[in-house]
């Protein structure tokens, strides 16, 4: 029995959460430092996992398996394939930045306001989310996955509702009501999805007799486990609905703008860059592997919905007055791309989608965190309240621009690679949809540049004239992200090498081959 | 056919007994429900239980029959009566329904339930009928004992524990620790003085000594009854008899007679009208 590496990656932040929460209220900074430390150690572990992972090796590696609830064949099974390991790494990577960026978000309010904000709680919750997300990326037992898939809602709920953004045009009270509304909405949406999924999980157990992803997928592949077409479709829909809420896919998206708008920037990053990824990841891993036929059956509808998300999200982003909501809608558009790539069922599409998850995580984090720094300076989320920031805070503006360019997937930055792969992959099989989706890149340019122009350029507004530029801490947060964006944009090979085999596997699960080009290249 | 009948039939004596006592039992039950006073209900229930005890005996459950009489009719029902005495007859006794539609719903569902139950029993095919003759061969009590102390021993023990718990629970519920000693008369008097109102003792009940019951309020000079004259408990139970009207009528009658004798017009004392109104 070797050292349970995967468990460690999840347990460590959990311990960190407990430890952070246990720090006495007075020692606020100690708690912060502790949380940061734990997240960093987790990152280190994740890197170890990444190194230990052999792309050419078995499908699931570093596996652990213990019986848990023997009566129902529920096992504690962990294992990562290329996709999983990439996302685990992403999560572990982003959390330190989230913590660092949220360094002061949970400080007690200025003396005057009654409310006391439990700093320890804030960071403990973040670590808790990390633990659960990582576990749901690693779980290869459907039931186990479901548990963490649901459980992560609880800390998220408190993070959104309890520590939300205090900047609001109608003052503190409006902010708090908005906040609780957003939190409840987030919870309800995801709970509904989760319940439906629970039903499907039970149904799956009834049909398959156990929860082990590997076994079921295997049985599905070699035909030993036969499902009635209708059964498979219902189960698929049950799973997919939950993931589509999480992801979020149009028209189940409306919780995201509220949640991201009301939460503080780091929490918003947590939502969109980390938690939501579980949804798309699960589509790739569970929907396709467990229900290949149903997936193919549902593909046309899903693709259409995805395209709608892309265009719709982008258009709404253009129409927003609120910076964070704008980013949220942009994310919706991006998730549309991811889902498109997943269900295009070509190796480009799915590799692109996986890559997209990683890149979108980084780019949104960069953009959103900088936006958060901006908002924290001015205390307003309204785009109209800014203008000419570029002149007073050039570095802030520069990083913001880079984040924005990443969001509009400028070539040379990481998101371009994934977006183009998704588009090519989609186009190869569904040209029309591919072309419509391509409009997304124009719209992306539109909302990003409009945002940049309205906030950063033009004459300097008096309110922002005294705005300080990025501080050291903030630079420490942003710089690595940007470096990463550029690196992965120029040299994404390391990631693709990890991802490709897994994608190939998935495609073979659904019995799909890449379409052949008309004219074979004269090699 | 005949064999089957044989299988079902019991002695005519038992049949007679059943029909008579059964009627009694049902009537008793109905009375339990519909008697106004709790005491009466309790008594009717006791009657029903005794009838049931007899039925037990008739069914060959000798032990249970006796236990029924001893425990239920003897102990539990007495307990009930004690409590009834303790609590007394309350306003809750009135059969007047306060919740809208409650009664009708109750009767309806009750009726439906009964019908269904009886229908169910009728519908059920209860063919087998083996008397207890060989089950009670070694005596009913022995048979029970054999079962209780072997097969059902755990249940038995647990119920024992349950009983003890119940006893303790009852004690805990009802027992009230007296924190200070009961006030002596002296102290009560002093408190009265200190409070300042009703320095003299409360007025006695009963008017003109016509009524010697404690539940009759005394009348004030203008004929209106005074709450103070009856004990608090009675007041709270609403068991006060208001005799003011009767008293006034007597007074009127008296004066009537008086003026008949003296042939002179009665001078209506001004206060009378008011009191009549009050008494209406």
């Amino acid at each position: 029995m070797s050292f349970p590496l995967l468990t460690a990656t999840a347990v460590l932040p959990a311990i960190g959460a407990v430890a952070t929460a246990a720090v006495p209220a007075a020692r606020r900074n100690a708690a912060k430092a502790l949380a940061l430390l734990f997240s960093l150690v987790t990152l280190a572990l994740a890197i170890v996992v990444l190194v230990r992972f052999d792309p050419g090796g078995a499908r699931y590696q570093l596996t652990e398996s213990h019986s848990w609830i023997a009566e129902f064949g529920v096992r504690y099974e962990l294992g990562v394939d290329g996709i999983g390991v990439a996302l685990v790494a992403l999560t572990a990577l982003l959390i330190p930045f989230v913590i660092l960026a949220g360094w002061h978000d949970a400080d007690p309010l200025e003396t005057g306001s009654k409310r006391w904000r439990p700093t320890q709680g804030f960071f403990a919750l973040i670590l808790a989310v990390e633990a659960m997300v990582i576990l749901s990326f690693e779980a290869t037992d459907v039931f186990l996955f479901y548990i963490f898939f649901e459980a992560m809602l609880i800390p998220m709920y408190f993070l959104i509702g309890g520590f939300g953004d205090r900047a609001h045009e109608h003052g503190e009270e409006a902010a708090s009501t908005q906040r609780s509304y957003a939190a409840v909405k987030f919870l309800l949406y995801n709970l509904v999805g989760g319940l439906i999924m629970l039903a499907a999980v039970i149904g799956l157990y009834v049909v398959a007799g156990n929860f082990s992803l590997a076994e079921i997928a295997q049985a599905r592949a070699d035909g030993t486990l036969h499902m009635a077409t209708s059964t498979e479709r219902w189960l698929f829909l049950g799973f997919f609905f939950a993931f589509a809420v999480k992801a979020p896919l149009w028209p189940l998206h409306t919780w995201l703008p509220n949640a991201m708008g009301e939460a503080t920037a780091p929490v918003a990053v947590l939502i969109t860059a980390v938690v939501d990824k579980v949804g798309t990841f699960a589509m790739l891993r569970f929907c396709l592997q467990l229900f290949p036929e149903a997936s193919k059956w549902a593909t046309p509808v899903i693709l259409v919905l995805a395209v709608i998300s892309i265009v719709y999200g982008a258009l709404l982003a253009v129409g927003q007055r609120d910076i964070k909501r704008l980013v949220a809608y942009a994310s919706i558009s991006h998730f549309g791309f991811i889902i498109l790539g997943i269900f295009a069922m070509t190796s480009q599409g799915q590799s692109g989608a996986t890559l997209y998850m990683v890149n979108h995580g980084i780019s949104t984090a960069a953009l959103m965190l900088v936006a958060g720094f901006l908002i924290s300076r001015r205390g307003s989320r309204l785009i109209a309240d800014y203008g000419g920031v570029q002149k007073v805070a050039p570095v802030l503006a520069g990083t913001f621009l880079i984040g924005g360019l990443a969001t509009l997937s400028l070539p040379g930055l990481a998101p371009f690679v994934s977006e183009f792969l998704v588009l090519v992959g989609t186009f190869a099989r569904y040209p029309a949809i591919g072309i419509i989706a391509t409009f997304g890149i124009v719209l992306a340019a539109l909302y990003t540049l409009v945002l940049y122009q309205r906030t950063m350029t033009g004459p300097v507004k008096p309110e922002v004239s005294a705005m300080p530029d990025l501080r050291a801490r903030e630079l420490v947060v942003v710089t690595p992200l940007i470096v990463l964006l550029i690196f992965l944009g120029v040299y994404p090979k390391p990631v693709t090498d990890i991802v490709n085999p897994a994608v190939k596997q998935t495609l073979s699960d659904v019995h799909k081959k890449d379409p052949k080009p008309e004219v074979e290249a004269a090699k | 056919m005949s064999a089957q009948l044989a299988a079902y039939s019991t002695s005519n004596g038992e049949a007679f007994q059943f029909w008579v006592l059964g009627t009694v039992a049902v009537i008793g039950a109905l009375c339990t429900v519909f008697m106004k006073k709790a005491v009466h209900s309790a008594l009717c229930l006791a009657g029903t239980m005794i009838v049931l005890a007899i039925f037990y005996l008739a069914n060959g459950a000798y032990f249970l029959g006796i236990v029924q009489i001893v425990v239920y009719t003897g102990a539990i029902m007495m307990l009930f009566l004690f409590v009834v005495m303790l609590v007394g007859v309350t306003a809750a006794d009135s059969l007047k329904e306060t919740i809208k539609g409650q009664r009708w719903l109750a009767l309806l569902s009750g009726l439906g339930f009964g019908v269904l139950l009886i229908a169910g029993i009728g519908h059920a095919s209860l063919t087998e009928f083996t008397g207890l003759t060989q089950a009670n061969a070694k005596g009913n009590v022995e048979g029970l004992a054999a079962l209780i102390f072997t097969k059902y021993v755990f249940a038995f023990e647990i119920t024992g524990a349950l009983l003890i718990t119940a006893a303790v629970g009852a004690m805990v519920l009802t027992h009230r620790e007296r924190t200070e000693h009961a006030p002596t008369q002296r102290e009560l008097a002093e408190r009265r003085v200190r409070e300042g109102k009703h320095v003299p003792p409360l007025p006695a009940p009963g008017v003109y000594a016509r009524h010697n019951a404690v539940d009759v309020q005394g009348l004030l000079p203008d004929g209106t009854p005074s709450e103070l004259t009856v004990s608090r408990t009675l007041r709270e139970r609403g068991q006060i008899r208001d005799v003011s009207a009767a008293a006034l009528n007597d007074l009127k009658a008296l004066e009537q007679r008086a003026e008949e004798r003296l042939e002179r017009a009665a001078i209506e004392p001004p206060h009378l009208k008011r009191t009549e109104e009050a008494s209406k």
């Binding site: 129409g319 480009q348 520069g398 070539p411 350029t457 008309e518 | -």
Partner: protein, 654 residues
Amino acid sequence: MENLIALLIAAPLLGAAVLLVGGRRLDAVGQWVGTLLSTVSFVLGLVLFGDLLGRSAEDRTLTQHLFSWIPVEGFQADVGFRLDQLSMTFVLLITGVGSLIHLYSVGYMEHDERRRRFFGYLNLFLAAMLLLVLADNYLLLYVGWEGVGLASYLLIGFWQHKPSAATAAKKAFLVNRVGDMGLSIAIMLMFTTFGTFAFGPLLGAEGQQGIAGDASEGKLTAIALMLLLAACGKSAQVPLQSWLGDAMEGPTPVSALIHAATMVTAGVYLIVRSAAIFNGAPDAQLVVTVVGAVTLLFGAIVGCAKDDIKKALAGSTMSQIGYMVLAAGLGPIGYVFAIMHLVTHGFFKAGLFLGAGSVMHGMNDEVDMRKYGGLRKYMPVTFVTFGLGYLAIIGFPGLSGFFSKDKIIEAAFAKGGAEGWILGGCALLGAAITAYYMTRVMLMTFFGEERWKNQPTRSPEAPSAEPAAAHHGEHAEPHPHESPKVMTIPMIVLAFGSVFAGGFFSIGDRFLHWLEPVTGHSEGDSPLSVAAVTGATMVCLVIGVGIAYAQYGRRPVPVVAPRGSLLTRAARRDLLQDDFNHVVLVRGGEHLTRSLVYVDHTLVDGVVNGTAASVGGLSGRLRRLQNGFARSYAVSMFGGAAVLVAATLLMRAV
């Protein structure tokens, strides 16, 4: 030798990185670092050029494969470079003109406190442009393509405090993005059709034939049209030309670099580079020629009406690019001449812009030609260089423009058939108009009475954007002066180019032989003799100049623009194209987004909240049942029991 190719790009890229990340400590030397690095790149280019010349015409293709960029199953994108005659030409043009403009900017941007960043952007632009022309596959080309877009965005919007500049920058980027969409779709099509988008296998290399021809004509046409869309975006061809005029908001060197010399020519490069594809799709080629012809006239007409000197030049740029696109659309007949005109145009248009910049520099950044006049004696060098550029562009015999443009016109006629006549006619007409508006610019700027005397050139409500004005007295009467050496030298060099390049290229068809291996060449059968065409061109030239002289040379030029004819007014507004965009796209888009926001809030969200509300209301009513009376609860319980019994009975019954 191949390894130098990467350095070509690396040098300016390094410069950009250093200057943009370097921070304030580089403010002092920033401009020189930038200039130095671009020059380094130019020198490298020369070295490579020498190397190429040393080889035989066939193996003048150097390739360098750096690393595998995006490997996913069949989709293999590498970072590799391909330097052949075509790229070489561009490399020299870009780095050469680029370096000159760097030098010029040192003087021009002298007083801008954000100069360091400006040079960073310039370097970034060069790097992107070089990547564009050196990439050995379309995806990498796409990177350069967008990189150029980014750089132009940054440069056009360099004076971000000016809302107009910021808007212009955004507009440029967006319009380009539309074009980029075309390019990306083209790449996807290539991938699905050929399974590759690398130049080597696709367009053929080292002699062996590419597979581009093997696809069905329909596919090829689709790809070609998408490429054309991309080209339209970058090269400001109708219908995507609208950004070019606004882009003049940027500092003048930017206009020179981006909008005259290099960036806008990227489209032409793309078409010529994809010759193999276009040759297989005659319909697409026809479209290309049409677009070229239309733009040619469009730009020329716009150029006639503008009073803003830079806008006028921008118009002329459009029309010149139109010439190139037209030529490129003609197929093997025209490719070479397209590139040739591109190069010569690079020289003289850059020269003209720099000249214009120098004029503005001396005139408190006044851009309205109606407030110029008689400047020749105040800024002689500018006058001479500008004049040479002018002669070159109108195709004065013996100068660059003459050779390159005539070749195109001949090729247009050589297309043969009705098309040939029409296209040729358009080209001729364009030549005439070019002559007209350039003469107009010339006259209004350097001749006539000095209209800038005794009148402030700047109204207070339009404060100067150009930092140069900061030290010149604001709103004061301008006192024109010659620009410093650092600015004039580049102009002189470019003037040389614009005078001799054409001749140098054409004599002995040097240029033709140089490019032929890449683009291929075929002499069309022209219905007119070369002499006839040249003659016709000369006639047009004379007519154009004549009219212009009659209008602006003889009569005094009114300081306030006359209302002008309908056409003139339309032309002043870029032939209403912007208005169209505004009404249809901008307004429409705004309405669309607004309504969508509303829909999202009321419909999509409303459904959810509605359900929640209704559930709440329902529970509110049900709540009444809970009257708290144990007995009524008991009733319901008892009723439930009854129901259960009933159910069981029924079950038994059936």
